[in-house]
């Protein structure tokens, strides 16, 4: 039973006609080719598939596309075109936050979500802000430092 679902994706009005139980993650990757959003655990634990839905961070592996009608979705492929996204990504590169890179799209989304509500977070607040994102390479310290660097460089952006 396919259903037509309209929503906003990275600022564009889009429409898909599909099984409403398909995961938002799969629609983003397969139907729109936005493969920056990654599938890690598939059960909401790792944060690799994070996007912003109506301005709030969510894990797309747990959301059926049928729940997305009328929503505003921003993925890493949309965020990277914005000043805020560029600032975070450059800080991650300069700060050495990236090793294998698989968790990074989710980490950048979590950083954006955090900085929107708290533009100058403390180290503890940064660690809480990325507590839903798992990285198996870095040990987190350089990611935390890079988010602090993004906050400093992007002063006034959020």
């Amino acid at each position: 039973m396919e259903t037509k679902i309209d929503f906003t994706l990275n600022g564009q009005q889009v429409s898909v006609t599909t099984d409403p139980l398909r995961r938002l993650l799969d629609v983003i990757r397969e139907d729109f080719g936005l493969t920056g959003t990654k599938e890690g655990c598939g059960e909401g634990e790792c944060g690799a598939c994070s996007v912003l839905k109506d301005g709030k961070i969510i894990t797309t592996c747990m959301v059926p596309i049928g729940a997305v009608g009328g929503s505003d979705i921003v993925t890493i492929d949309g965020l990277k075109e914005t000043e805020q996204g560029k600032t975070i990504i450059e800080a991650f590169a300069d700060g050495g936050a990236v090793q294998c890179g698989f968790c990074i799209p989710g980490m950048v989304m979590a950083a954006e979500d955090l900085l929107r509500s708290n533009p100058h977070p403390s180290e503890d607040e940064i660690r809480k802000g990325i507590s839903g994102n798992i990285c198996r390479c870095t040990g987190y310290d350089l990611i935390v430092e890079s988010i602090a660097l993004a906050s400093e460089r992007g002063d006034g952006l959020w």
Binding site: E30, G44, K53, I57, M62, V63, A67, A110
Partner: protein
């Protein structure tokens, strides 16, 4: 592919529920994971589904004229954790569920309907004598949450009903001291291994007028025993240390852990002992850390 419905109003949802038996899916944080089939594959459910997360009638937090709090079943943990109207125990439990991205999806109605003994919100809601409002095309009924969840994954929900609201009554007097502890493997994204919620009210003379404790993940359902709680009511708070040994021995009988029983029994009693011992010293803060 099973039938999937996306009702636009509660009225429509109740008709679909009656006619097809479709089960409500809200945040998806339990169901989408429970019925997942692997990387890049759409979950498959054994029954029809209706997506209720966007039903406005089910979202929101407000006070009723009698001072009770009414929370819509599709209200998320994030919204609950951020609302100053919500009692402290429920805010605490909400703010410690999963991580931010999960709390932005997970709903109170889903946490109740899933009826896991590890569910974080039912443990605190049962402490506060909360009820659930169940709606069907025939009308509404209200059931005490402690009765509604009668076993692990077992509720009194009928095939034509939907959980629409959660009602939390206001205690007769504000609690003097409150306690909530969740034990999990890590600070974020941890499923509860054990939890204890407790509250006590003490009058000017030091007499206990209200005492409650509810124990999560220590048996097939959240454990709360009003008869046992009542044994402390009317006693002076200073007498707690002498009453504790027999109280804890009796509390041991109301919990029935399915796994690691030794650990769960010992830790539950130690949390209770700590809370009650601390309050007998009459500390200045309301929250026992």
């Amino acid at each position: 592919m099973v039938s999937t419905y996306i009702p636009k109003t509660l009225e429509e949802a109740l008709i679909i529920r009656k006619e097809t038996g479709a089960r409500p899916l809200s945040g998806g944080t339990d169901l989408m994971v429970q019925y997942r089939r692997g990387i890049g594959v759409t979950p498959k459910f054994p029954w029809p589904i209706m997506i209720v997360s966007n039903l406005k009638e089910l979202i929101g937090i407000n006070e009723t004229p009698d001072g009770s709090l009414c929370i819509g079943s599709a209200t998320t943990s994030s919204e609950i954790a951020a609302s100053p109207l919500v009692p402290w125990h429920v805010r605490e439990a909400s703010s410690r569920m999963g991580a931010i991205s999960l709390r932005n999806l997970a709903t109170i109605g889903g946490n109740i309907g899933n009826a896991s003994p590890k569910g974080d919100l039912p443990a605190t809601l049962i402490l506060l004598d909360a009820s659930v409002v169940l709606a069907s095309v025939e009308g509404e009924r209200t059931v005490l949450l402690d009765d509604f969840i009668y076993g692990a994954k077992k509720t009194l929900l009928q095939d034509d009903e939907i959980i629409t609201k959660i009602i939390i009554p206001k205690p007769a007097r504000p609690f003097t001291y409150r306690w909530y502890r969740k034990i999990g493997t890590r600070r974020a994204n941890a499923i509860t291994k054990l939890s204890l919620s407790a509250a006590i009210t003490i009058d000017e003379k030091g007499v206990i007028t209200d005492f409650r404790a509810s124990s999560g993940a220590a048996g097939p359902k959240i454990a709360r025993n009003k008869a046992l709680e009542a044994t402390l009511i009317g006693k002076n708070v200073e007498d707690i240390p002498s009453l504790l040994p027999s109280f804890l021995a009796d509390y041991d009988k109301i919990i029935s852990p399915h796994a690691m029983p030794e650990y769960r029994r010992t830790s539950t009693k130690r949390m209770l002992e700590y809370f009650l011992t601390e309050v007998s010293k009459r500390p200045s803060g309301e929250i026992i850390e």
